[in-house]
Amino acid sequence: MTRVNDFAFKIATANGTGSASANGLIMQAIFRMGVPVTGKNVFPSNIQGLPTWYEIRVSKDGYTARTPYFDLMVALNAATYAKDVAEVRSGGYLMFDSSWPLDESLKRPDVTYLGVPLAEMCNATFKGVRERILMKNIAYAGALAGLIGMDPDVIAALTKEKYAAKKALLDSNEKAIALGYDYVRTHFPCPLPIHLEKMDATRDSILIDGNTAAALGAVYAGATVGAWYPITPATSVMEAFKSFCMKYRRDPETKKKKFAILQAEDELAALGMVIGASWAGARAFTPTSGPGISLMNEFIGLAYYAEVPAVIVDVQRTGPSTGMPTRTQQGDLMMCAYASHGDTRHVCLYPSDPREAFEMAAKAFDLAERFQTPVFLVSDLDIGMNDWMVPKLAWDDAYRPDRGKVLSAGELEQARSFYRYLDIDGDGIPQRTLPGVHPMGAYFTRGSGHNKYGGYTEDADEYQEVLDRIARKVQGAARAVPQPVIRKTPGATMGLVTVGGCHAACMEAMDLLAKDGIALDYLRVRGFPFGDEVRQFLEQHEVNFIVEQNRDAQLRSMLMLDTGVPVEKLESVRYYAGFPMSAHHVISGVKAKLEKAA
C-alpha cells in the first residue's frame, strides 16, 4: 500500500558510534523537503556500546506525537535484532547490514528484508577503524534517502553547509551517502511504497528541542546567573544557555561576560546560589530533573517563606529514585506544586512543546519576581531533548522585565518607613529591596518565624498573618500564569483534560476518536494554581478524562485539591512506562473507560 508523507521508521544502532549526526541529517533533509517530521531519541544511560534507537515520524497532517507503529526498521545493532524485527508493522520493511548473514530465525514472512552491505562497502572505501564506523552511519542515511525518496539535492546542500569548513570530512560524507544511495537504487525498487514527496508545510517552522528553547527564553528574559549540577535530561539547558551567552552576552571590546554560570557541588547548592543571586537582584535560574528537585526541597521552602524569587526548570525523567534517567515521565507534578516541608504551594508552568518552553521560560522570570516566590517550569525529557517541529519563535522587542515591587534608592530616600512583609495594597505581595542600594531598605531575610514587619516572631497571630498572606499571594498567581488552552467540539458532553507534552497525543487521539463518533471538548492546563476556567470546564462536563504520564494520577489529584470537583467526574487515563505518550494510549484509555461505564 502506497503511503506518501505518512509513515514512521526507526533506526537501531549502538550508542557512541556517531549515529546522531546521521539521524540529524535525515530529520533535517525531510524537514527541508517541506514535510512535517518529528524525531524521538531513545537512548541508554550510558556513553558507549549500548543499544540506542532513533524514531522518525513523517506526518503530512502535522501530527507530532510518538507512534509505536514502524513501517521501516533500520536494524544495525545485532544485539537488538530480535526485538527490532518484532516491532515492524506487518507489511513493512527491514533494512539490515548484509555484510553478515541474518539468522533465519529473524525472518518474518510479512516483512520485506532489504540487505545493504554497509560495513563491507565502508571497509572498502575508507581507511581506519574510526572513519569506517562513522561513515557506516552516513552510508545508512544515504541508503534511507534512496529507499524513502529523499531529495538528493537537499542532502547535498545540507552536507555542504555542515562541513563547509572541513573539506576532508565533506568528501568522506559525500562518498558515504553515495555508497548507500547508489546501492539501494541499484538493488531495490526505489522509492518504496512508503515514501516522501515535497510539500510546503515547514516554511514557518523550526526544528528545536525544548532545552535549547528554554535556555533561549532565559537569555531573552535577561537571566544573568545560572547555577546547576549536571543531570540527565536537563544538562543541555545550561549548555545551551552558556553557548547563547557566549554569543550574545560578551562585551564587544573586552569580551568580558555579562553573565555568571556556576556549576555547583550539588543541586542543593545550585538552588542556594539561585536564591542568593535573586535576593541580590539578578534574574537567576537552575535547570534540573526530579532527583535534583528532591534535594532542593529545603531551599524551595526557604524561598517560598522568605519570598525570594527563583526559577527552577524541571526536565522530568522517570522516577522514583534514579528511575530510568533517559526515559520520560510526568512524575514530578505534585512534587513541584507542593515541594518542601510545611504548608507550601508553588507557581508552575507546563509547556507542551519547545515553543512554549521558550515563552514560558521567559514568563517564569516575570512571575517569580512579581510574586516573589519560586516558579517551576515543568518540562520533560521528551520536550527537552527531542527535536520538535514548532512554529518559529518570536520576541516582542517592547518587552521589559517585570521586576515586581522592588523599591529603588530614590523611592527609599522618600519613604518614611519600609517593612519587608507588609501588604500595602491588598494583593498579598509585599515590597522588596535589594542589598547595597539604600540604608532604608535593610531588612533581615529569614526562614524562621517572622512578622509582617520582617522581625523574628514566635507569636501565634503574627506568624499566621504572614502565612495566610503568602497563601493569598500565590492564589493570585492563578490569574497571571498562562491560561488553559480550550477547544470545544459541538455537541460534546465529555472533556479531555491534559498537561504538557501529552498535548500532541491528545490532539491526534481526538481526531481519531471523532471518526469513531466520540466527541470531546479539550482543555490543557498551562499553569498552576489552576484558575476558574479549569474548574468551570470540569464542572460543565459529565465526565472528564484526565490524561497524564504518571502512575498515580497526579494531575487528577491536583485538579481535585485545587478545584474541589468530585473524583467521580474525573476519569484517569495514564501511560507512564517511559516513552512519550502516543495517540493509541489516549484512545484505548478513553474507550476502556467508556466500555466500563456502558
Binding site: 535577561g222 546560589m273 526562614g447
Partner: protein
C-alpha cells in the same frame, strides 16, 4: 532568631569615622545569646573592624546559616541586608549573591556544626571557588541551640558537660581550608580583640575567600574542665605566631617592628597586611609551611593563632569567570536581551 531592638540615640562625644558614623551606627539588635558568649565578642570585633574601615553599612551583605553563631548577623550592621538562610547552606547563598553583585561587601558567619558537619561540602566548594567574602567560623566545639552535643571540631578526649568523652577525630577548619587551596586562612580567639580586629579587616580587604576560624567558648555547654574550647584552655594554649596589622590604603605604612620579623603582603585594593612574626622563620605566604606549623603546634597541645596563610595572587569567582566590572544586577535589559532580529537570524540554524 531572637533579638531585642537597641535604641539608636548616640552620645555626642562618640568618635566618628571618615563617613561621620560612630561605632553605634555599626551595631545591630541586642544579643539574646548567653551572657559571656564568645560570639558576642566576635560581633564586637566585627563592628569595630567595619567602623574603622569606613565602610558604609548598607554596602555590606551579611549572611549566615543556622545555629547560635548564625544568629549574630542580627547583632551588627543594622543598615545592611541580612540573610539567615538554612543550616549549612550559607556558602551557596553567598556565592549566588556575590555572582549577581560583586560590589557587595560580604560577610558570612557560621559555626562549627553549620560549617564542619551539615555544611562541610558547601564550605569546601566556596573555598575552592574563592568566593570574595569574609567567612567567620565561630568555633565552640558544641551544638549550643540543641544543648551540648559534640560538634565535628570537638577534639578527641574532650568531655561534654555531662562527662561523656568524644572519641572521634576533630576536623580542623584551618587545615581543611589550606588543603582545599584557600587564599586566606587565619585563626584567632574571641577573647583577643587586638588580634581579631586586624584579621577581620584584612579578610574584608582580601579579594577572595577569607577563612577565619575563631575559637569562641560556649559558656553554657563547653566552658568546663575537660574542654579544649573553654576560655581557660584557650588562654593557656593559644600561641600567636603571626600578628596581623592591617594598614588601609590611605594610611602611610610605617615600620614599627624590627626588619626581619615583619612580612608585608599587599592586597588587591592596595592596602597592606603587615605580619609581625613571633617565629622569625614563619612564612605566611607558604602553604606547606603553614600546614606543617599548625600540625607542629597541635602535637604540642597548642593552638596556633594569627594570619596563618595569605596568597598574594588570589583570583576570585569573577576573576575566573571574567565577568564584566561592577554588578550584573545593574546591567540594563537591552544589554542582556539580543532582540527579535537576532532571534530570527539565529533560527536559520534550526532549519
Amino acid at each position: 532568631m531572637t533579638y531585642i531592638t537597641k535604641p539608636t540615640v548616640h552620645h555626642p562625644s562618640l568618635k566618628k569615622n571618615a563617613l561621620g558614623l560612630t561605632r553605634r551606627d555599626y551595631e545591630g539588635a541586642i544579643t539574646t545569646l548567653c551572657a559571656g558568649c564568645g560570639h558576642d565578642s566576635i560581633t564586637a570585633a566585627i563592628i569595630h573592624a567595619f567602623w574603622e574601615m569606613d565602610i558604609a553599612p548598607h554596602k555590606v551583605a551579611k549572611l549566615s546559616g543556622i545555629g547560635c553563631s548564625s544568629k549574630t548577623p542580627a547583632y551588627f550592621l543594622r543598615e545592611a541586608h541580612g540573610f539567615n538562610s538554612v543550616h549549612g547552606r550559607m556558602p551557596a547563598v553567598a556565592t549566588g549573591a556575590n555572582a549577581a553583585n560583586g560590589d557587595l561587601i560580604m560577610i558570612g558567619v557560621s559555626g562549627d556544626g553549620d560549617s564542619l558537619s551539615i555544611g562541610l561540602g558547601q564550605l569546601c566548594h566556596a573555598i575552592r571557588r574563592n568566593v570574595n567574602m569574609l567567612y567567620v567560623l565561630e568555633n565552640n566545639g558544641v551544638y549550643g541551640l540543641t544543648k551540648g552535643q559534640f560538634s565535628a571540631s570537638a577534639d578527641p578526649g574532650t568531655t561534654s558537660k555531662k562527662g561523656e568523652a568524644n572519641t572521634m577525630e576533630a576536623i580542623d577548619g584551618a587545615l581543611l581550608a589550606l588543603t582545599l587551596g584557600a587564599t586566606f586562612v587565619a585563626r584567632s580567639f574571641s577573647g583577643d580583640k587586638d588580634q581579631l580586629v586586624p584579621i577581620i579587616q584584612a579578610g574584608i580587604a582580601h579579594r577572595g575567600f577569607a577563612f577565619v576560624d575563631v575559637i569562641s567558648p560556649c559558656v553554657t555547654f563547653n566552658d568546663h574542665e575537660g574542654s579544649t574550647k573553654s576560655y581557660a584552655y584557650t588562654r593557656e594554649h593559644a600561641v600567636e605566631v603571626v600578628h596581623a596589622d592591617f594598614v588601609p590604603l590611605r594610611e602611610p605604612i610605617e615600620t614599627t617592628y624590627a626588619e626581619g620579623t615583619v612580612q608585608r603582603v599587599t592586597l588587591h585594593d592596595g592596602s597592606v597586611v603587615k605580619l609581625r612574626k613571633v617565629d622569625k622563620d614563619y612564612d605566611a605566604t607558604n602553604r606547606d609551611a603553614a600546614y606543617a606549623a599548625i600540625r607542629d603546634h597541635q602535637r604540642k597541645g597548642e593552638v596556633m593563632t594569627g594570619l596563618l596563610y595569605l596568597s598574594p595572587d588570589s583570583k576570585d569567582v569573577h576573576d575566573q569567570n571574567e565577568t564584566v566590572a561592577g554588578s550584573l544586577v545593574s546591567l540594563p535589559h537591552d544589554q542582556l536581551c539580543p532582540g527579535n532580529d537576532a532571534l530570527q537570524k539565529l533560527q536559520q540554524q534550526f532549519r
